[in-house]
């Protein structure tokens, strides 16, 4: 039974909105040209490939359903489980269900801790027991190296095949349709991505590629699940930030006088409160609300989802001030321009002037701000979850992964794989987002182009 969480609905709405915006841009040369400049940038194209891969995982993880329970009696009505799963969970069933007892290192065949093991001759001794699933197919552990190499090779070969196919198809379709973009960089990034994913997938069939955590969960699975949390926070926050920032900023700059005073007062007040503290206080209040109203959240997934959404709302409500400030300045300038004055003289209504003359001319600032905001939101989630005012502890996110792994820092030898997994997945995401954001800024900001031209002349 399909069971969409509120955040799923919002994510898909956002996908539709972005698609509509893309269509809108492609029909308007003044917006299509900057995007063309963005996609001519090689770093941006490579980053876009990585971001799309993350997006794919995030979207797969945003289609939730409640699995059917096995019927108690033949002919009885179908009963659905209370547990909510996503399509990604379904695809990763082997990773999700193959639990070990506790920690095990990446690609290990034995547990990380010694336990009492029964030896074949009947005696008992303390040793590292074999894992239930990791490398369980091996008769002798000495074969592990060969087995790993074989699987990795098979994975790499499959990845190469897929890559060749993708490049061949892409060359005939995408590259013909949009010849200017940096397709070479995209193909290279896709190659790297497919190679890593192919090898990891091939190894994951029989091993825990990134090890297991304290209760034996596969770390790779957790890292993949964290992606949705990061993306939701990085994007859904926009839904609150955008209307507040654009509405208040443009209204202040366009109407001036009292409206301007009021808006300036509100955003100066809000931005005076240190962001982390304001967020912490708000999240604490949401926590109290959730804990005192258990009847509103029948399943734990719904409770976690509510907390995730409220975190997005809080981050948006705290973060709109900088966008509003930028837009106020721009609207102030635009409202004095001749064509706006002319529109006034012709008796065009305020609403129409705003929609036709002001809004389209600040669109580039909005795009730049949102793209730049994304990576800082992803980083903020980790820190907030670490202090305990981020997502629900039951939600898998980079922050909760780091938080859990940190407690094991003191262990000797150290349990490093959870941290390493969170580090690599986050670095790839944030780096790609930053590179893409830079290209977007360079593509959209007219000042940068002038500066670059001057720089080239000098």
């Amino acid at each position: 039974m399909l069971f969409l969480l509120p955040s799923d609905v919002l994510v898909w709405l956002l996908v539709v909105a972005v698609a509509a915006f893309a269509l809108y841009c492609s029909r308007r040369p003044h917006l299509a040209a900057p995007w063309a400049r963005v996609f001519r940038n090689r770093a941006a194209m490579a980053a876009a490939v990585f971001l799309s891969a993350y997006l794919l995982v995030g979207l797969l993880d945003s289609l939730h359903y409640r699995p059917t329970l096995p019927a108690a009696a033949p002919g009885a009505a179908t009963v659905y489980s209370v547990e909510v799963r996503s399509l990604l969970d379904r695809l990763l069933t082997p990773l999700r269900t193959r639990l070990e007892k506790t920690y095990s290192a990446p690609l290990a065949t034995r547990l990380f801790q010694k336990e009492l093991v029964q030896s074949p001759d009947g005696g008992a001794r303390r040793d590292f027991p074999r894992l239930r699933y990791g490398g369980a197919q091996l008769a002798r552990e000495s074969e592990r190296g060969r087995d790993l190499a074989q699987r990795a090779l098979a994975g790499a070969a499959a990845a190469l095949l897929v890559w060749l196919l993708a490049v061949a198809v892409g060359r005939r379709t995408l590259a013909r349709r949009w010849p200017g973009a940096a397709w070479g960089a995209a193909a290279a990034a896709l190659g790297v991505l497919l190679a890593v994913a192919g090898i990891a997938a091939a190894l994951a069939t029989a091993y825990h590629v990134l090890g297991t955590d304290r209760v034996g969960n596969d770390v790779l699975y957790q890292a993949l699940k964290s992606i949705r949390t990061s993306l939701v926070i990085g994007t859904l926050t926009t839904l609150v930030l955008l209307p507040l920032g654009v509405g208040a900023g443009i209204a202040a700059g366009y109407f001036k006088h009292r409206v301007d005073d009021a808006v300036q007062y509100v955003y100066t007040t809000l931005s005076s409160i240190p962001a982390v503290l304001l967020i912490a206080a708000s999240v604490l209040m949401v926590q109290v609300y959730v804990d005192t109203h258990p009847e509103l959240f029948p399943t734990s997934a719904q409770r976690a989802d509510f907390r995730l959404l409220s975190l997005c709302a809080i981050l948006g409500a705290v973060g709109w001030t900088s966008l509003a400030r930028l837009l106020r300045g721009e609207a102030l300038k635009l409202s004095e321009l001749d064509y706006v004055q002319a529109a006034h003289a012709f008796g065009v209504s305020h609403l129409r002037v705003l929609a036709r003359h002001i809004l389209p001319n600040v669109a580039h600032i909005v795009v730049i701000t949102l793209v730049l905001e994304f990576s800082s939101l992803v980083l903020a989630e980790a820190v907030l979850s670490y202090i305990g005012v981020g997502v629900d502890p039951s939600t898998i996110s980079f922050g909760t992964m780091i938080n859990a792994a940190r407690l094991e820092m003191a262990r000797e030898p150290m349990v490093w794989w959870s941290l390493a997994a969170a580090f690599l997945f986050m670095l790839a995401l944030v780096l790609a987002a930053n590179l893409f954001a830079d290209a977007v800024r360079d593509g959209f900001d007219p000042r940068v182009r002038v500066g670059a031209a001057r720089e080239a002349a000098a």
């Binding site: 409160i273 982390v276 912490a280 206080a281 980083l379 820190v383 150290m414 580090f423």
Partner: protein, 325 residues
């Protein structure tokens, strides 16, 4: 000048009142004191008497805004709003859950915070400026390109990893400094070196990249071309002319954070066990000690506003074109 300072400070009053209202709304209107009591006492098996007792101990048993039962001015003053929010203006923060005086805690804890935040601020500023200047000097070359790449990579790493990585490498593997803890006096240096290094490195990427842009913007100006045209060496142009002028936006830009240095750094302090205001706040958040969080929100805002006033003053001091009126 004095009149200007006074007038600028008066502008801050409505903002302070606004902040006070926001925190009041956040802490008392979203959830009633009953909710907070239930949360603190544990949601299950809590008797109405226990809630009343909890509220009475902390002074939450009053009406929110208007006490109809009281007489004269007490109608206004004997309320939660006056006792808990208006009193903040008098720096009366009340008591924490462990019954300690919050104002006293703040006074003792701000010094370790400052001992950490001030070096991070000063060293960080110097390092950022030097890096940015280096990149600007070698602009449009391989060094500049890689400098920017390194900056973007540094920016993309979460603060948490700088701290965890630093603790692991320097304290655990090389055993150069203690992993965490704090001591008063000169001993503090041993404990502070690592957090300071991590604070500086963590902020290097974003800072150096921003300052590089500022330097490049400055270098595109006409007076720089004139300086080059009259035959000055690139080094002289950069250090004697560009640096001086680019420092104006850099320095006026950082003035705003100076008062907030007293608050310290939330994450770093709690990771390193430094008994400053940052770790105090984190502990309060984790223990859901609303009184402490409220006090810290208020102090943080006040310090920020002081920073804004100082920023305005610094503009007038460094840039003669800005007038006092």
């Amino acid at each position: 000048m004095l009149a200007y300072i006074v007038r600028r400070s008066l502008y801050a009053i409505p903002i302070l009142i606004g902040i006070n209202l926001v925190t009041f709304a956040l802490f008392f209107l979203v959830n009633t004191p009953d909710d907070m009591a239930r949360m603190q006492l544990g949601v299950k098996r809590v008797t109405p008497e226990a809630i009343e007792k909890w509220k009475a101990q902390r002074g939450y048993d009053r009406p929110l805004l208007w006490n109809a039962a009281a007489t004269a001015t007490n109608k206004f003053t004997d309320t939660i709003f006056f006792e808990k929010s208006v009193r903040l203006f008098a720096l009366d923060f009340g008591r924490a859950e462990d019954n300690r005086d919050i104002a006293r805690e703040i006074r003792t804890r701000m010094w370790p915070s400052l001992a950490l935040a001030l070096p991070v601020f000063l060293v960080g500023l110097a390092v950022n400026i030097s890096f940015a200047l280096g990149m600007a000097y070698f602009r449009a070359s391989v060094i500049d390109l890689w400098g920017v790449v390194v900056c973007v990579i540094l920016m993309s790493i979460s603060t948490l990893f700088y701290i965890i990585g630093g603790q692991y490498l320097i304290s655990k593997l090389w055993r150069l400094v203690p992993i965490s803890g704090y001591a008063g006096g000169i001993d503090a240096v041993r404990f502070l070196i690592l957090p300071v290094i991590i604070g500086v490195v963590g902020a290097l990427g974003a800072g150096a990249r921003l300052y590089r842009t500022l330097f490049l913007e400055e270098m595109a100006k006409d007076y720089v071309r004139t300086a080059r045209a009259k035959g000055l060496a690139e080094r002289v142009v950069l250090f004697r002319h560009v640096l001086k002028n680019a420092l104006i936006p850099i320095l006026t830009g950082v003035v705003v954070v100076i008062p907030s240095l007293f608050l310290g750094s939330l994450i770093t302090e709690s990771f390193f066990g430094i008994p400053g205001l940052g770790s105090y706040t984190i502990d309060a958040i984790q223990a859901q000690d609303f009184a402490v969080v409220r006090a810290m929100v208020f102090i943080g805002s006040v310090l920020y506003i002081v920073g804004l006033v100082l920023t305005d003053l610094s503009y007038t001091l460094v840039d003669p074109r800005v007038r006092f009126d």
